[in-house]
Symmetry: C2
Subunit: 507 residues, 2 copies
């Protein structure tokens, strides 16, 4: 027994975190004060509408305000608490209702507690021995997600990844291994020019991962999108044929369910038909749109996803789980393991006393891996699937309310009349440009509006909405609804703010 043996060693038990009783009480005192600060000032203090979204400071100012350089000696507990306050103050308040700048936002209280518990347990998920609960929890949650995708019985495999880009990389890896297993040992040299396809409006990670994975960006062919942002399936087929005729080896298509800017959903059924015809792996990047699968009302957007070979789905996006919570799912049961295992003997010993099929760590490219599952599982338990459905329905309803509100409001011009997801894209037209649509230089002037409004918005800290150009479209705003605590009044607030900040801008 541990306690006895400690007595054998001749000293009384002390706590591991702290070297002595007085050290312990000093640390305990700090820990309690720090936790109080976190709960009162950060969690409860920052999530209300009257606080600022961001306390803007330029890089050089932040360096002056916070002594960020590591130093030789320690600082006091008082100073540490001050650091905490300063770090929080100058960090963007992503929990704020008016942070609608990215495809993530808000801090869900259940998700946060799940994350804090994970941290306190400090696990790394690779063997059942070291992470028993997390290993099985991942299995259960991933199976349920596969069922929701539509794969019979939730069969297949999956993994929690550090972000959607890596998930999309796993898709390339599995697709490649599925078609050409010799690549694992011989490299892509074993095959004539691998080619994959994705929409020109797909997330940049597919091209980036194609490069990282030795395939090269030139071999990631971009397919035209239609005016709604959806993949043009005829262009896809024609490009597949081109590649075949050139003697290359097309092996996969990455379709998108919820593109980053437009929130468009590629037509999965016809894409799947092309994939079947030419024996291509179909991956669906539903990092953003995957959450819609939880809603009976909106899941039609991903119709055909059950025909995919693999799916990326990030609960940290539309389902509002904390950063990061990203999954790669595949209907192929053994591919992850066969494609990635290296059988390291120091970690995956086969002579352990339990069923080592639960040592799942060899199927991923990371060694140590965070337990990103618990926060999501905890939210799921707290809300139930029906809670996620309500959440999804609410954010779609908000998006639709905002869209209708600005559709006819003076100064607003929609980029897409009928966006499919909760992204709403629009130009704000200041008074000086109204009625000037046909004048020379109009587009150049309009292009300058969004950066100017953005600067004012951030310096005031009243909201955060991103803008970007896309193709031939000049800078426009994209507002993203992903936080179900927002109400209709907030939609009016956003529109009013654009008017207040932008109406009198001169460009």
């Amino acid at each position: 027994m541990p306690a006895d043996s400690v007595i054998v060693a001749g000293e009384k038990t002390t706590d591991i975190l702290f070297e002595s009783i007085s050290e312990r009480s000093k640390h305990e005192d700090f820990l309690r004060r720090a936790v109080d600060f976190l709960v009162e000032r950060v969690v409860f203090g920052r999530s209300n509408r009257s606080s600022k979204v961001v306390e803007w400071a330029a890089p050089e100012e932040i360096k002056k305000i916070i002594d960020l350089k590591p130093r030789e000696g320690p600082v006091s507990h008082e100073q540490l608490l001050t650091f905490m306050a300063d770090v929080a103050r100058y960090s963007v308040n992503t929990a704020h209702p008016y942070f609608v700048n990215q495809l993530f936002s808000s801090v869900d209280p259940y998700g946060l507690i799940g994350q804090w518990l994970t941290d306190a347990l400090n696990p790394s998920v690779y063997t059942f021995e070291v992470a028993p609960v997390f290993t099985i929890m991942e299995e259960e949650v991933l199976r349920e997600m596969r069922k929701i995708v539509g794969w019979t019985g939730g069969d297949g495999d999956g993994i929690f990844c550090p972000g959607g880009s890596i998930s999309n990389g796993y898709a390339i890896s599995c697709a490649r291994f599925h078609h050409f297993p010799e690549i694992k040992t011989k490299g892509v040299y074993a095959v004539p020019n691998l080619i994959l396809f994705t929409s020109e409006l797909a997330h940049y990670s597919t091209k980036k991962m194609a490069s990282f994975m030795g395939i090269g960006t030139d071999n990631c062919i971009t397919v035209k999108a239609d005016k709604y942002g959806r993949m043009d399936v005829r262009d896809l087929e024609s490009k597949v044929l081109d590649a075949i005729n050139e003697g290359s080896a097309p092996f996969m298509v990455t379709a998108t369910s919820g593109t980053t800017v437009f929130g468009a959903f590629d037509p999965l059924l016809p894409i799947s038909t092309v994939c079947k015809k030419y024996n291509l792996w179909l991956h669906v990047d539903a990092a953003w749109g995957g959450g819609a699968l939880m809603s009976r009302k909106h899941k039609h957007l991903l119709k055909g996803i059950e025909l995919a070979d693999s799916v990326t789905w990030n609960p940290h996006k539309l389902l509002a789980a904390p950063q990061q919570c990203s999954t790669f799912l595949t209907r192929h049961k053994h591919l992850l393991a066969e494609g990635h295992s290296s059988n390291a003997q120091y970690l995956f010993q086969k002579d352990k006393f339990y069923d080592t099929s639960y040592d799942t760590g060899d199927k991923h490219i990371q060694c140590g891996r965070r337990a990103d599952v618990l926060k999501f599982w905890f939210m799921w338990k707290a809300k139930g699937s029906e809670g996620f459905e309500k959440h999804i329905d609410k954010v779609f309803e908000n998006a639709s309310y905002f869209l209708e509100h600005i559709r006819h409001r003076e100064g607003f011009k929609l980029v897409l009349e009928k966006p499919e997801c909760t992204n709403v894209m629009f130009w704000y037209i200041p008074r000086c440009l109204r009625g000037c649509e046909n004048e020379p230089g109009y587009m150049e002037r309009l292009h300058k509006v969004a950066p100017k409004i953005k600067e004012k918005m951030i310096k005031e800290g009243c909201m955060m909405v991103t803008y970007q150009p896309q193709g031939s479209l000049t800078n426009f705003f994209r507002i993203v609804f992903q936080n179900s605590a927002l109400e209709h009044k907030d939609m009016i607030y956003f529109a009013n703010e654009f008017e207040r900040l932008g109406a009198d801008i001169i460009v």
Copy 2:
């Protein structure tokens, strides 16, 4: 002003986390109870020596005890608290002093608070706009680490990665791009057989990443290690020459500072000479041993690391930062950005109003990325560099004490007489095998000892020490010291426990 505009919208401010006042107080009540549980029961309750390291339950038992399946409806707050207790109970207590099973352990109180603050702020680090403090904090911490590596002025670049495997992947990517930039667009097809080298005792991630990155495991050549576990430099040079003679394109060597099992340090100076001679990128995987750079007494182990082109260094290992905290460092200032950037316009707009050189997210292969820096920065502030030095000196001293204690103790046989890091490797010889060294079947019988002891150890929960075979060496234990709260009495405890569990084992 936000407050005014909310009034314009016609309703009173409410909190974002909670839909109404009564909802809020319900959630607040839960959050406070959950935080109390975390602090009292998990943080303070689990880190003392009299608690168990693990409450063993087989996979099927855990599934029975905890209802892990996601369900349609929500559960009560009471049930959520019970879930928290059960998840904690059946998770391995990695904070426990007797968890010495992996290259990580303990939960540092400052690291934990840093991590909890990060979670409460829920950031994603890619643009200055969205993560101003974290962006600059990363820059400062990485520069300081590069200084410690020995690069003048801390010049170069770096990134926090999700684990050492990905860091080692970045090294391959940078080395490859440095030698053959056309690979980014054209893939590895552009070059005749890329070849990289690493020790046969190096971490498996280099081979695994070589495969993932399209190079293939066959093209990751393993170099012989000497009996201390260090890379044999003559074998390296001869294999480099072989590759050149075969018309392949050798481009890098990954040396290891602190191998996973033996804790061996490859001889960096002669390896660097070979790299210079054949124009090879030198990467040093110091994921495990990097922390020794913080100690004047032990940094000699990494002599020559300043000659490397890049380094992997995981503060979550020897420096005991929470999971995960892993860095990739390089002396080459622009390579990460040039090798990985894709210039996505929706995120890295160049017409922002601030200096967009601070939007560093395009240099990594992830899009969204966790802020793993804060916990480490916070520990560094709390302890100072001098605190890390004391920590390192203490864990090395403990390892040396344990080594001397078991060197002559009956039943213990060292695998390495003089291990270099804080890993101590030994066989425990039960009574039934003592004096039988020359009998046939001895090695087969010895091979079965470690799994048997391990099973007893885990089922009792008295400690966790891993075992593995290596090459021709039959199963041996590897105990790892990385927690500076351990004392000499704990070293005696471990030895006593091996005797108690193992002396009478029959094999």
